[in-house]
Subunit: 391 residues, 2 copies
Amino acid sequence: MFHRLTSVGYTPESGVNRLALNEYDIKARNNLVEELNKIDVEIEIDDAGLIMGSEGTGNDITAIGSHMDSVPNGGRFDGFYGVMSALEILMEFKERLNHRKITAIDFTDEEGARFQPSLLGSGMSTGKFTKEFTYSRQDKNNITFGEALQNSGYMGIEDNRVVKQQFSRYLELHIEQGPVLELEGYQIGIPRGIVTMVVDHVEFLGESNQAGPTPMNTRKDALVAAARFAVEVRDVAKLSNKELVTTVGKFNNYPNAYNVIPGKVELNLDTRSPDMETAEEYSRTAKEAADKIAGEEGVSVKFQNEWTTETTMFDEDLKKQIEKSCKALNLKYKYLYSWPGHDAQYMNRIVPTAMIFIPSHLGRSHTKEEYSSDQDVLNGLAVLRKTVENI
Amino acid sequence: MFHRLTSVGYTPESGVNRLALNEYDIKARNNLVEELNKIDVEIEIDDAGLIMGSEGTGNDITAIGSHMDSVPNGGRFDGFYGVMSALEILMEFKERLNHRKITAIDFTDEEGARFQPSLLGSGMSTGKFTKEFTYSRQDKNNITFGEALQNSGYMGIEDNRVVKQQFSRYLELHIEQGPVLELEGYQIGIPRGIVTMVVDHVEFLGESNQAGPTPMNTRKDALVAAARFAVEVRDVAKLSNKELVTTVGKFNNYPNAYNVIPGKVELNLDTRSPDMETAEEYSRTAKEAADKIAGEEGVSVKFQNEWTTETTMFDEDLKKQIEKSCKALNLKYKYLYSWPGHDAQYMNRIVPTAMIFIPSHLGRSHTKEEYSSDQDVLNGLAVLRKTVENI
C-alpha cells in the first residue's frame, strides 16, 4: 500500500512533486480517504485541511501521523511513510481497542515548499498560527493557502482541530533524512527533540546594467555580493566547532539574463542547532557578513528573520516506551536530535509527543534518490506497533 | 512618435517587457507596419520575421535599422530608437530620393532574451545561421522560434532576406549603453567596431539533500561551488590589466527550496574584449577555476562554450562619413568600441556597415532607468540624417 500510494505525483525522472494541495496532494488525500472508508472509521477534517481517521471510544487517545505533501522533486518516503504507518496501525488495532481510541492524521503543508512557513497545517491546527495568518500565505503564483484549501475540497471545520481533540499522546514515525543511523549501524533512531531552526531572508540590491559596456570597477553586481555571502556563511559554519548547520537553499537572481548585470538577488539562510543561542548568534554573524560584503560591493542589503523555532524536547516517558520497544524487538537504537522540523514539533506543544526514525540510505532526502529498505520500513512499523501495544 | 510607440509593453514599475515575438513585440510590429502604410512605402517581410519598409529605385540602397524587442524589464531606448530613426529618415527623404533607395529595417530577436543566441534574426537573414538552427531555438516554455514566428503573423519569405537584397550600405543609430560618452562629455560616439563576445554555459552538479541533517563537511553543495566560481571570475577580471569585462548574468539554482541543499546550478559567463585572444584566454582561465572549485567542493562541473563572436571592425569610409557629419553639425564625438553586440555585427559580414552612438545617462541600460535626453536623441538623428544626405 505504501509503495502504491506514494507513487502519486512521482516519476523516476522528477521524483515526487506532491506540493501541498496541488493536484497530486489532492489525489493522495482522496486515496487516503478511500482507504479510511474501506475500514469504516470516522473521518474528520479541520479548517487547516488536516485529515483524521479515528476508531474507538474512551479518554485514552493515541494520535499517530505525519504528512503526504513533498518538496519539489522530493522523495517517496518523507512524511508519506508516517501517514501510511498510522493507517496500518489503525487497521491492525481497530478490532481490539477495548475502550481506547486511535486517530491517524495527515497534516497539511508540512514542507513549507508551496506555502511558507513550513508546518503550516500543524501550526494552525495546534493554535500556533492564526487562521488569518495561515490562510493569507501565498504560493509563488499568488494563490493563498485559504484559496488552495477551499479549491481542494478539504476545507473542514474549526471544531475538528487537533487542539480541540483530547489526545493523550502523539507519535510520529519518519525517515531520519540524514546519514547517521546507517553510517553508525543503527536500525532505529529515537529523537531527543528537534533542533532550533532560524530562517532569514536576505535581499541584495545592486544596479542592473547591460553586461558589455559597464566597466568592472563601476559595477554594483547583486549576484557577486550574494555569492560572496553564500560562500562566507558556509565557510563560517564549516569552521565552527559548535553543533551547527547552515544552508542557502533558495537563491533567486534578477533579471536573470545572460547579458545583464544582476540588480537583485533574494535568498534564504537556514540555520540549525540543538542550542538555540548558537543558532541565533550565527544568524547575527551572518547579518554582519551581509552588511560588510554589501558595503564592499557598493550594493544595499536587507536582512530579515522570517521565523525561528525553539529547540523542542520530546516527552521523556514516551521516549522510554520507544526504547523499551526497541529492546523487546532486539533492534539497535540510538538517541539523536532531529535536524529537520516535523509536525511533532507543534504537537509537542499541546500533548506528550515522541518520534521514531529509521535509516535513510546515504542520508539522501528531499530528492528522488531518497531510499529506505523494506526491512527498515518494517522495523520502524514494528517499533510503533509495539509501543502502541504497550501503551 | 518614438515616445508614444516605445510605450508598448512598458510600465513605470517593470520597464519594457517586449521580448521577441511576444504580445508586446507583435503590437509594436503592427504599429510599425501601420506607420509604414501611412507613408505608403513598400513593405517586405522575410522568413526570419524582419520587417523592411522601402522607398525609391536604383542600385544605391541605404539600409538603416535596429530592433524593437527588449530584455525582461528593459529600457525604452535600446533598439527602438534605431528603428524609429530609420522610419523618420525614410519619411523625410522619400520625396527626394532621386533614383536612390532607402530601406528601414526592424530585426527580430536581437536581444536573445527569449531565444538564444542573440542577433538571431539578423544572423538568419544574413546567412550566418541556418533556418533549421534558428527555427529550433526554444524559449523557456519550450516554444520554438519557428512556432512563435508563425503565430505572430510575421512569417515572410526567404526571397526577402537581407542577404538577397542588394544593399549598398547599412547604418544603425543606437544608445551607447555605457557611461563613457556622458562621463567624458561627448555628444556622439563612433564605434570602431564591436568587441569579441564569448558566452560559456557552466553547470555545477552536486547532491541535493535535506538542509538539516546533512553535516557541513559531507555536503556537495552546487550553489556554494557556483557562488565561489562567480566571485572568482569577477575578481580575476577586475584585477586584470587587459581591456576585459565579464558577467555572470543568468544563474539558476535547483531545486531552489529554502530547506534543501542545492543539487544543481546552471549559469552563463559572458566575457568581452576588443581583443579576441584576451577574451578566449580568459574563458580558458575560467574553465580552470571551475574545475578547481568543483574538485574542492566535491561536485562535478560541465563547462561549454555556447558561442563566440569575433571582433567586428566597421567600414572605414562610413566611419569617416559619420565623423564628417559630426564636424559639420559641430557635435563633439569620440571613437570607441561597442561592448554590446548589435545587428550591425552580422550586417557587416555582407555589406559596408557603421553605427552611431548617443550618450546613455549614467550608462544605465537593459533596465527601466535607461535614459537619453531628447537633445541627445535629436543629435543622433541629425548625424544620421546628415550622413545619409552626404552619401
